[in-house]
């Protein structure tokens, strides 16, 4: 099977190398088109083009430009960030099963956000609390795992997993003591919801910035994936790189969680799925994760707000419903 798989072995940016990224970019565009077209009022492709180029009916203009476009872009940016955070965490921990949720980052964000909601704070402050919670969780996990000096990926992973279950207990506690009327909002936030995403710029700018930071590190990350000692023997300054990765992944997660609540599964599934198809060259996996994660969350969010319209589903439910069977299917096929 390996021979059939297109890999970035030919030197330079050959068409063979670009191929999967071109397809993923098309998928991302298509998902944006769908997100803009579908909804309470369906808008055809030609009208959509007219609206986007400055024409079209006034109602359609309002619907597309003011309601659907910001949300679709926010969904794309959030998905892109989550998938990239997952890809980075997996390299950092040399474990294909790591992601921001497994490591307790989103747990910390959730606890802080729920506490803010319980205190009756506004949306902006809830976002800020989520951000602070994610970063605090990062520092706690990294600090504790660093502890006795024998810092290893396994130890970091274990610390993260234990912290995550601790946060889980706190979340249950907060839900238990919350007044009933606040519960729906909190639950939606816990399952991820893009309805209150607001401006898409934070996630889009963060995604672009993160990609700009990690792309030049691509080959270095490939070497790091072979283990810390091997990477050091090949000239990688391992410890500073690991710190940078962890902080970047945390920042990326924090921005995503602040925008959309805690959407699970994207960070774990997208990079892993791509790796099954594309191998593990980070120079391809990272941009591919960005595109695929963005496209997946845009599609999921479109389904979330149209499936049982006028009611909306939490987007996290849809990502899991699409993701789990796809993931299992790919995993099964890759076993051949």
């Amino acid at each position: 099977m390996s021979g059939a798989r297109a890999r970035g072995l030919s030197p330079g940016l050959s068409p063979r190398w670009r191929h999967p990224l071109v397809w993923l970019a098309l998928a991302a565009l298509l998902s944006q088109g769908l997100a803009l077209s579908l909804g309470s009022v369906a808008i055809g492709p030609d009208e959509l083009v007219r609206v986007l180029t400055g024409g079209g009916e006034a109602l359609h203009r309002t619907l597309v430009l003011e309601l659907r476009l910001p949300r679709a872009l926010a969904a794309f940016g959030t998905g892109a960030l989550l998938a990239m955070a997952g890809a980075l965490m997996q390299i950092l921990l040399r474990n294909p099963l790591a992601d921001p949720y497994v490591l307790g980052l989103s747990g910390g964000a959730s606890v802080a956000a729920l506490a803010a909601m319980l205190a009756g704070l506004g949306a902006a402050l809830v976002g800020g609390a989520a951000f602070a919670g994610a970063l605090a969780s990062t520092l706690i996990v990294f600090g504790l795992a660093h502890g006795g000096g024998s810092w290893t990926p396994t130890r970091l992973l274990l610390t993260g997993v234990v912290m995550a279950s601790g946060w889980g207990a706190l979340i249950s506690f907060l839900l238990a003591v919350s007044p009933v009327e606040r519960l729906p909002g909190m639950l939606y936030w816990l399952m991820g919801d893009l309805a209150y995403a607001g401006s898409p710029w934070p996630v889009l700018v963060m995604a672009a910035a993160a990609l700009a930071v990690v792309l030049p590190l691509g080959r270095t990350l490939n070497v790091l994936a072979r283990g810390g000692l091997q990477a050091a023997a090949l000239g990688v300054a391992v410890r500073p790189l690991e710190w940078a990765l962890y902080l970047l992944a945390s920042l990326v997660t924090a921005v995503a969680v602040t925008t959309a609540g805690s959407v699970g599964f994207v960070g774990l599934m997208v990079p892993h799925m791509l790796r099954l198809r594309l191998g593990n060259d980070q120079r391809r996996i990272l941009p591919a994760s960005l595109l695929a994660g963005g496209a997946l969350l845009t599609l999921a969010d479109t389904l979330a707000r149209t499936l049982i319209a006028p009611q909306q589903l939490p987007v996290g439910v849809i990502t899991a419903l699409i993701g789990v069977p796809t993931f299992l299917f790919l995993l099964q096929r890759s076993r051949r």
Binding site: S2, G3, R7, L9, P11, G12, L13, Q90, R94, N95, P96, P216, L217, R219, T220, N222, V223, A225, R226, G227, L229, Q230, A232, A233, L234, G235, V236, A237, R275, L276, G279, N280, D281
Partner: protein, 259 residues
């Protein structure tokens, strides 16, 4: 790249094995053209020594110097252009092909934005050819046997083409033919003016292929010197706490454990 004058040198070096007395500090140099073998029982610190010599872990005392300059003063990348390590343990958690794995040996030579060019690919291909792996180039590491994986590790360092080779049990998992081929590869590297140090479990490979030997005892004691002087039955029996018979075959001593 021609031979360097000084090579890798240990000065008053005590490796840091937790809970062990310092023993005897090491003062030795792996000069260009020399083939050093490190012998010792399990847990004697062979791997720790190799990692310390590669600058991957700090010594308890003393210094490791390359070209007369302490390793701490080298930038990791500059060091990786001169020193290659064949590891005993490997982490193949992520999918990768044989060719990609050989190609990472070029990492220290490439700037961040540079893709691997035709020359890098040619070097990797030559290394794979040298280790009889060309037919496996597109295979996934996870589908290889232990011996094949071991040869890929050697191919990676051959692609890296360092001046000093530090090989941790380079013949691990290899069949007889490939054991000899691996030793011949390391000997050839030494003949080209590179320094070679390898940890070995096989006394007879050491007797046949090494120019110098370092015997590491579990209590931190050590002795080293030219191979012929070190290969005495008494020293080796004390090293392994095992009775040995020595016979001469084909011009080299062969050691056989007695019952």
């Amino acid at each position: 790249m021609g031979p360097k004058e000084l090579g890798l040198e240990a000065r008053g070096l005590v490796i840091d094995v937790p809970g062990r007395p310092d023993g005897r500090a090491l003062d030795l140099a792996i000069e260009p053209g020399q083939r050093w073998g490190v012998l010792g029982p399990n847990g004697a610190g062979k791997t720790t020594l190799l990692h310390t010599l590669a600058g991957l872990r700090p010594p308890r005392a003393g210094q490791v110097r390359l070209d007369g300059r302490g390793l701490a003063h080298w930038r990791r990348r500059a060091l990786a252009r001169r020193l290659g390590v064949v590891f005993q343990e490997r982490h193949d958690d992520f999918p990768a092909t044989v060719r990609e794995t050989a190609l990472i040996g070029r990492h220290p030579f490439l700037s961040p934005w540079r893709q691997e060019g035709p020359e890098d690919h040619a070097r990797a291909a030559a290394a794979l050819e040298r280790l009889e792996l060309s037919h496996l180039a597109e295979r996934e590491l996870s589908t290889l046997s232990g011996g094949e994986r071991q040869r890929v590790s050697l191919a990676t360092v051959l692609t890296q083409a360092p001046d000093v080779w530090l090989a941790d049990e380079p013949t691990n998992h290899l069949d007889l033919h490939h054991q000899v081929a691996a030793m011949a590869l390391l000997a050839e590297q030494a003949d080209r003016g590179h320094g070679v140090m390898m940890c070995l479990h096989d006394l007879n490979l050491a007797a046949r292929w090494c120019s110098h030997l370092l015997l590491l005892y579990p209590d931190g004691e050590a002795c080293w010197g030219e191979a012929q002087a070190m290969l005495t039955v008494e020293a080796l029996e004390r090293l392994y706490r095992q009775k040995l018979l020595c016979v001469e075959v084909d011009g080299a001593p062969v050691f056989v454990p007695t019952r």
